[in-house]
């Protein structure tokens, strides 16, 4: 049975002492994120997110299925997380750690149940046909901040994804391939993101985007999911010591600023990717001229 590496007493004490002096071991400010990098795949809906050394890949796929009988007018949207043993030897295939359960629940609450995707728009024929959108999250490297990175990955991938266009004539459904009709983006109602706060000294010191070592030495965490308009989608706190309400209130203010910057960053990256894909626009595509 693999054993997770426990930080030594020296490391614990040093990290605490450094945080009391407002210093982090990787030289960041207490409320600074690590460098965020997004890389889009050739296919639509594939995003590779790197947050420092943490790396997460999200992939969106769509297929046509029959909707659930009790939800005839809704499409289906699921998020699946997979912890690969490549990310950390602590992860084993087929054995669910509490990290994995927490991650999938948080993503479920923050993205699916806050109805970031308009599932009604995925319905093709009520009760007969609907789109089944599936988000697969693969953890490739684990250096803390999995919840934040996975949430960014899923949200970016959903915005990057294009589903095939459909037309309905009576009972006949035509699904157009990529060549026949331009695929359409998913209809999103809002863009929630998760921000994890790690706290020490029962809320005296609050950190944003802790790395693995800081996660192992913290007293507890508060995960806040929020969209850029400041609407809180969820607050989770699993275990740990109690935190003062005012500290929590302050956390939501910090979270709002972080969510706004990250959302803008994602938008910029998506626009840049659009420009890269759209070489010459529609005119280039329609032109019959050959390159000489």
């Amino acid at each position: 049975m693999p054993r997770e590496a426990e930080p030594s007493l020296n490391e614990r004490e040093f990290i605490h002492q450094a945080l009391r002096e407002q210093t982090r071991i990787d030289g960041r400010a207490l409320d600074a994120f690590r460098e965020l990098r997004l890389q889009f795949g050739d296919e639509r809906g594939v995003v590779d997110v790197r947050l420092g050394k943490t790396r997460v890949i999200a992939r969106i796929s769509a297929e046509v299925v029959a909707p659930y009988p009790d939800r005839k007018f809704d499409g289906i949207f699921t998020i699946t997380t997979e912890f690969s043993p490549m990310a950390s030897p602590a992860f084993e295939v087929g054995r669910y750690t509490s990290d994995e359960i927490i991650l999938s629940r948080i993503l479920e609450k923050a993205i699916r149940r806050s109805s970031a995707i308009d599932t009604e728009s995925l319905c093709i024929i009520a009760g007969l046909k609907c789109f089944f959108i599936r988000a697969d999250v693969h953890i490739i490297d684990h250096d803390g901040g999995l919840v934040d990175a996975s949430c960014i990955a899923v949200m970016t991938a959903l915005q990057h994804f294009r589903r095939p266009d459909v037309s309905v004539e009576g009972e006949n459904v035509t699904i157009y391939s990529l060549r026949e009709r331009e695929p359409v983006p998913l209809s999103m109602l809002h863009h929630p993101l998760c921000i994890t706060f790690s706290y020490y000294d029962s809320g005296e010191i609050v950190l944003v985007d802790a790395n693995r070592l800081e996660e192992q030495t913290r007293e507890g965490e508060v995960i806040i999911a929020m969209n850029m308009h400041g609407e809180v989608c969820q607050i989770s706190k699993f275990g740990g010591t109690p935190v003062d309400a005012l500290v929590l209130l302050n956390c939501t203010n910090v979270a709002l600023k972080k969510v706004q910057t990250i959302t803008k960053f994602i938008q910029r990256q998506l626009e840049e990717d659009m420009r890269k894909r759209d070489v010459g626009g529609l005119m280039a595509e329609l032109s019959a001229e050959n390159e000489r």
Partner: protein, 250 residues
């Protein structure tokens, strides 16, 4: 004395083999090489080929993988638990534990031995490994575990080994740790570290071959600065993305 870069599967030409001064000395193959009788030597790791004509040895320097204990290596170990006769220590995560007898500290007796809590750090030397016990006559133990010691076996002096108090530990690559601990760099690789840090700062440090560096520079800020400089030097040396991005000072 790196002559060429090898990839797994490459055969080593006879011209690359060291020319030993003493022809009766057999050729020693180090890590990353395997011998296929009668005369073929192939690499099974990627890296630069190193030769030593004095020792008539040849090996591939590879900066990867997990630390494998080897007798007389200096390492930084974490205490896991205490038993009647010895401590159980971990050298690197997800590897079998090692033993550190209570009496292998300087001037330790049954009553004066150092009391170490789980999670404490010790700077120690590897006394014996399961595979080496039949080779070294000095170690009488036949335990199936790797054994550590914090004293010089013949003099009984600590020589800088023992519990590490305070400070911070940083993880570095195994190749960099080996480079810091090169012969002629004094005890604990401090000279090696100084080459990368530059002069003008006082700090204590200990380099473990298991890829860990312990640094104590007095204050938190200085310790962080020295530690991060070491980690950065490691990143630059590897030259990949490990040295990029968030590693920069702010």
């Amino acid at each position: 004395m790196a002559s060429s870069i090898l990839l797994p599967g490459d055969t080593i030409p006879p011209s690359a083999l060291p020319h030993a001064k003493n022809p009766s000395k057999p050729l020693t193959l180090g890590p990353g090489l395997r011998h296929t009788p009668p005369l073929t030597i192939t690499a099974h790791l990627a890296g630069p080929l190193h030769t030593d004509s004095k020792k008539n040895a040849i090996w591939v320097e590879n900066n990867g993988g997990r630390y494998i204990p080897h007798p007389s290596d200096l390492i930084i170990a974490t205490i896991l638990s205490s038993h009647p006769e010895s401590y159980t220590c971990s050298l690197s995560p997800y590897t079998p534990p090692t033993l550190l007898p209570h009496l292998s500290f300087e001037s330790a007796t049954k009553k004066t031995r150092p009391i170490l809590l789980p999670g404490s750090l010790v700077y120690a030397r590897i006394a014996s490994t399961p595979s080496s016990t039949h080779l070294t006559s000095s170690s009488s133990s036949s335990s199936p575990e790797t054994e550590l010691e914090c004293i010089h076996p013949s003099t009984g002096k600590a020589d800088g080994l023992g519990p590490l108090k305070g400070g911070m530990v940083w993880d570095i690559s195994l190749g960099f740790a080996r480079e810091l601990l090169k012969k002629g760099d004094g005890v604990a690789g401090i000279e090696g570290v100084k080459r990368f840090i530059g002069e003008g700062r006082g700090f204590e440090c200990a380099v473990g071959r298991n890829g860990r560096v312990w640094v104590d520079a007095g204050s938190v800020g200085d310790t962080v600065r020295v530690g991060r400089e070491i980690v950065e030097a490691d990143g630059r040396r590897r030259g990949s993305e490990w040295g990029r991005g968030e590693m920069g000072f702010r």
